[in-house]
């Protein structure tokens, strides 16, 4: 019996191509979206809500126009044929493309979707990284020189932070690696809702472009928080912040629904909760966070948009100016754990393989992830020590300090696994150690920040900027790159160059620490955030920090090129070069085939290395296959 070939989602090559598409789906998406925008924008600005002087683009019209654009884009790229028509009981003429074309249209194959997410995320990383380079270039001098106007610098900060958080931090490990790996890791041929997943990925490029092109409507100055009441008097570019982030968070919300249902309901026979892979635990905990908090921030953005375009005085001096920030951080703190929890899970995924030693204290790893998830909703106001009531300070300080206990469980597990193992040094394992180092510094500086009297000094300075880059780049991005090397043979059947990988790892490790380590010193020395100009005594250190920042940017570029090269032209390698025991290594990476011709049955522990007994058996293939 062949499983998983639902009609319409089939694996292209098996069917003869009967219908040719009239035009490439991406073109169609652009046309549908563009025409939809013009129509909706025109109707609102000319008929429903004409403004004095009749400008064609007004704030209400562009908002409505953008919503229609989003729908038109997604439908055009394939959702109309592939998902909407069947949902209305019509027959779908959708024919999935083959070859490289399948990456440029709606698809229901979780491997294709995972790669689409990964590529979009990498694109966002480099757009936002370019913004970071421009910021560092400006900061080499204490006077305006690169940007003629401070609002442009502040918009750059906002674009950088927004795209990094919402299209990289929340997306790369979850939408990208999660979509690709989770069905394989739990022994399934597809995710639970492949059509929804196929649609959601197309919101990512749209969101990135919307935020990146926000200056078309004017420079906005709020940074990635889009915060009221300042947003209300910013130029209209802030609308594209709200709308772009809406698209990105909507995408992550759909991923969360899909992957949660996949993990809960599509596990292979024998794959009990006790045996669930660590990465799946990471994904399910962040997905629950996403399901709760992404709708929360979306409705908050709606309030922000309404405050502008109606306008409503929600957050002005006569309203409640701090309510926006409360609502933002209520989501914002879980958001930072959404970024880092999958990375912590990756440590626990990769270390046992590389030490060839059983995962230590697995249940504490799981408990740690779950408690981090639960506590993360209770600490938001530690971003607001400088403006909250005195009576509220201590409780938030308390929860913030307590969250370090479950977070430290990841170290407990990792260290117990390393101890007396046979540690194999290569690019992924080294990057994991580096990630542990960086995140340790990020976490320890967090202890200082949790202390109110220290916080009142270093909040809003480069100390905080250093702290969160240590957790996000140091913790998450390093783990992401480690994962890319680790699963590269899975993605491509090829191997990277070990020397290049290790040199690249050391390169970014040094550049990263030299850059962001100095952020702490700058902050302590009185360098505040969101400033393109600053007192001249800070200039020498800023100059030198920028040099390291450029080296870091080049280092990331080096990894990108190396990984790209290895996927295309690296030496061919065996199916499971690390001799890992998890299920994804048993599955087929071929896009024209299902993951498993026959579903495996899990009979053991994926992370046990005391013997070579099989962890899973595939009934069809001549008895037992040993992983």
């Amino acid at each position: 019996m062949s499983i998983g070939t639902e009609p319409g989602i089939g694996y292209g090559t098996e069917k003869p191509l009967v219908l040719k598409k009239s035009m490439p789906p991406i073109m169609k998406g652009i046309i549908w979206g563009g025409v939809g925008f013009l129509l909706a924008n025109g109707i609102v600005s000319l008929l429903l809500d004409p403004q004095p002087g009749h400008p064609f683009i007004t704030e209400p019209s562009v908002t409505v126009g953008w919503v229609v654009l989003m729908i038109g884009w997604v439908l055009g790229v394939g959702a109309w044929e592939g998902a909407v028509k069947p949902a209305f009981g019509r027959t779908s003429n959708w024919v999935a493309a083959v070859g490289w074309r399948r990456f440029f249209e709606y698809s229901t194959d979780h491997k294709v979707i995972g790669i689409q997410y990964l590529v979009s995320s990498a694109g966002g990383f480099f757009i936002a990284g370019l913004a970071a380079m421009m910021m560092r270039l400006q900061l080499m001098s204490d006077r305006m020189w690169l940007f003629p106007y401070p609002g442009q610098y502040l918009t750059t900060v906002g674009i950088h932070g927004t795209i990094m958080m919402f299209s990289v931090g929340t997306v790369a490990l979850v939408g990208g690696l999660g979509n690709y790996l989770i069905p394989m890791m739990i022994g399934s041929n597809s995710s639970a809702f492949p059509r929804m997943s196929g649609i959601s990925v197309w919101l990512v490029p749209l969101g990135i472009f919307t935020v990146a092109f926000s200056p078309l409507l004017g420079y906005w100055t709020t940074g990635w928080r889009g915060y009221e009441p300042l947003a209300q008097q910013d130029p209209s570019g802030i609308l594209f912040y709200y709308l772009g982030v809406f698209a990105l968070t909507l995408s992550s919300l759909l991923v969360a629904l899909n992957l949660t249902a996949t993990i809960v309901f599509k596990r292979a026979p024998g794959l009990t909760w006790k045996r669930l892979p660590m990465f799946a635990w990471g994904i399910i905990t962040v997905s629950l966070l996403n399901i709760i908090w992404l709708p929360e921030i979306e409705i908050t953005f709606l309030l922000g948009i309404l405050s502008r375009i109606v306008p409503f005085p929600f957050f002005t001096a006569t309203g409640s100016p701090l309510t926006y920030l409360e609502l933002f951080w209520l989501f914002g703190h879980p958001e930072v754990y959404i970024v880092v929890v999958p990375a912590l899970a990756l440590w626990q995924e990769i270390l046992p393989v590389m030490t060839r030693k059983s995962l230590f204290a697995r249940e504490f790893g799981v408990i740690g992830l779950i408690f981090v998830m639960m506590l993360s909703g209770l600490v938001w106001a530690h971003h607001m020590f400088t403006n909250m009531r005195n009576s509220e300070i201590l409780p938030f300080s308390f929860f913030t300090e307590m969250i370090s206990i479950p977070t430290a469980f990841s170290y407990l597990v990792a260290i117990g696994t390393i101890w007396r193992g046979k540690f194999r040094i290569n690019a992924p394992s080294l990057l994991i150690l580096m990630s542990m180092f960086n995140f340790m510094i990020g976490g320890m500086t967090g202890v200082f920040l949790a202390d109110p009297v220290i916080n009142l000094q270093v909040h809003d300075t480069f100390f905080v900027v250093g702290h969160f880059h240590y957790t996000i780049i140091g913790g998450m991005v390093f783990s992401w790159i480690a994962a890319m090397y680790y699963w590269l043979p899975k993605f491509s059947g090829r191997m990277y160059n070990e020397k290049a990988g290790i040199i690249g790892a050391i390169w970014i490790f040094i550049a990263f620490n030299m850059t962001f380590g100095q952020f702490f010193l700058l902050g302590l020395h009185g360098m505040n955030r969101w400033v393109p100009v600053y007192p001249s005594y800070l200039q020498p250190m800023n100059f030198e920090t920028s040099i390291f920042a450029f080296l870091l940017g080049l280092g990331f570029l080096f990894h990108l090129i190396h990984i790209w090269w290895a996927m295309k032209a690296g030496p061919k390698t065996e199916k499971n070069p690390w001799k890992s025991k998890t299920l994804e290594w048993m599955s087929s990476r071929n896009l024209a085939q299902p993951n498993f011709n026959e579903l495996p049955e899990v009979v053991g522990n994926f992370y046990a290395y005391e013997n070579d007994e099989p962890v899973a058996v595939i009934p069809g293939e001549g008895g037992v296959e040993i992983v």
Partner: protein, 190 residues
């Protein structure tokens, strides 16, 4: 956790009953996430305006909308009870009645937005308009969902594969009815 471990071993993760469980679980999560904005808005109402109710608010229309919504919710519930029978024309009727009642309620909600008597720069007024607008948005989405359910029932008919998802469009509508009622109590009465 231990309870789930003792659940029947997952023989084959593509079997219909497992698919059904996945759909049900996913739908529950979807509704849970859709309820979050409602909770935020309830909070907002008390943050901005405590329990104040403006005397300019159109109580009569508000009450009428609630009655129509209750009626549509009851029809949807009846329909849900009868989905299993897979009676195409009967179900089609239920769809139509729910949708017509729902559309009437949505139009009335839009009327409330357009011809409101409340002051939009007051804190009650802004909250009132925001919440009414959000719920009108939910209603429109709910109507589109119902229409998709109706079309599938009419064109394809119910089968093991789509019975749950067609039925769940009624469930989603019932969720919207409940959301409206909670917001009605919150905005017009307390």
């Amino acid at each position: 956790m231990s309870e789930m471990q003792n659940a029947p071993t997952l023989q084959n993760n593509d079997l219909p009953d497992l698919k059904l469980r996945a759909s049900r679980g996913g739908f529950t999560l979807l509704v849970a996430s859709q309820a979050v904005p409602i909770i935020v808005l309830i909070n907002l109402r008390y943050v901005m305006a405590a329990s104040y109710v403006s005397s300019h608010v159109d109580q009569l229309t508000g009450a009428l909308i609630s009655l129509v919504m209750i009626a549509s919710g009851l029809v949807a519930w009846l329909a849900l009870m009868n989905v299993k029978q897979r009676n195409r024309s009967q179900l089609n009727r239920y769809f139509w009645i729910t949708m017509v009642l729902g559309a009437i309620a949505a139009v009335m909600a839009l009327y409330q937005l357009w011809f409101h008597g409340v002051n939009s720069v007051g804190h009650y007024g802004e909250t009132y308009l925001t919440i009414t607008g959000v719920l009108a948005g939910y209603m429109v989405i709910g109507l589109v969902a119902l229409y998709s359910g109706k079309s599938r029932n009419w064109r394809v008919g119910l089968n093991d594969d789509n019975e749950f998802s067609v039925g769940s469009t009624f469930k989603y509508w019932i969720f919207i009815v409940l959301a409206w009622l909670i917001m009605y109590l919150d905005l017009y009465l307390f």
